[in-house]
């Protein structure tokens, strides 16, 4: 019951504010409270090379590049320092199996931290 209800509640709350796409593995806190899934290319690791001179999106010219927004917000918003440090982390590929599930549940169960068996990240910027 709760499993069915939570995605509904989460979407109802997050869609109006962040245009949440229910990827089920929320990274809002590490991307300046800007949802990377609203990037037409769904890039999770920063902007592509096609950002226009005015900072707008290559695909949707009237929209500000979400990574330009994410960068500005990471610098200017009073976010916890540890969240800001997460900004430059190499985020793993999206787990398509989590699409439509509640990221709150996946956070609590740590399901959102599961990565493919071969995935590893070298070095660290901290």
């Amino acid at each position: 019951m709760l499993k069915k209800l939570l995605p509904f509640v989460e979407h109802a709350l997050k869609a109006p504010v962040w245009d949440c796409r229910m990827c089920g593995q929320c990274v809002l806190h590490s991307t300046g409270m800007t949802c990377p899934m609203t990037c037409p290319k769904t890039l999770r690791n920063g902007p592509c090379g096609g950002v226009r001179e005015n900072g707008h999106c290559e695909v949707i010219p009237e929209m500000q590049c979400i990574w330009v927004k994410a960068y500005d917000r990471t610098i200017s918003l009073p976010l916890p320092k540890v969240w800001k440090q997460h900004y430059n982390e190499l985020r793993p590929p999206v787990d398509m199996q989590l699409q439509g599930t509640s990221s709150w549940v996946n956070l609590v169960t740590k399901r959102d931290q599961q990565v493919p068996g071969g995935w590893s990240v070298q070095g660290s910027e901290h």
């Binding site: 037409p40 999770r44 090379g49 950002v51 990574w67």
Partner: protein, 303 residues
Amino acid sequence: MSVLREKLENSNDVVFTAEFPSVDGGGMASVERNAARLAPWFDAVNATDNPAAHAHTSNTTTAIAMKMYGLEPIMQIVCRDKNRLAIQSDMMGASLHGITNLSLLTGDDVTAGDEPEARRVFDIDSAQAINIARILGEGKYLSGRPIKPAPDFYLGAVENAAAPPFDYRIQRALKKYRAGAKFLQLQICFHPDRLEAFCKGVAEVAPDLKLIPTVVLVKGAKGLGFMNDKVPGIDVPVSFLARVQKASDPSVEVIKLTLELARHALTLPGVRGLHITDFRHDDSLDSFMNDLGRTPKRQTTNR
């Protein structure tokens, strides 16, 4: 065996790379012709992957054909058309045919091409693709399934030093470096100040990341205007456009301007070479390379 790696990692030589013209027909004869034209000047040449979101002969088969005619490929893989399975099989296919140099990039959106109704994939992004190539090179697929022996890759990536958010571009380059990129081919840049700030910033933190800025050979003011209006992420300053437009011979002036940009780029910290995109397809490439002080090397074919 990668001449590109050898030169970048074990010498101080400046390397020159270029773009292989897309293959749409004309068969192997066209590949042979283009290989013969480029081989004297370039250490390695990019086999592109549906550039500007237009379908062409595939990246892997183009790279194999180039190699047959003695041209070392840098095989590009973009994230637009293939999911993570297909991208890994591209990488393994390259390795099967002895292709070592890979360059992983996001890719233009489908809306930039002539089939905007296509589904865009972007299952993974360029930083993840680099990291996955590094993982393959360590002997396993993304799933963890072992590969014995591990493929030998020399990994590259792309960055646009001149697109917003400017400060963040350095961070993003470093993210790709940490993921496994050894060299970066930079997007065409008409802002020497931005290129300089980027190269300095990267060289400070990652002095062994090899930077290869790009200059483009266009025919005149119209070509520059096209770059400015149609190519996402490229901005041509009004002063450059005006200078070429007002020149008595715009075709000569635009080459002069490009030479200035090239010479400036080669003086920057971290810069180990130059990438040349040729949209003129005339004899200006030879004179341009001569003006940069290059001498053509004799061609060897290892078929």
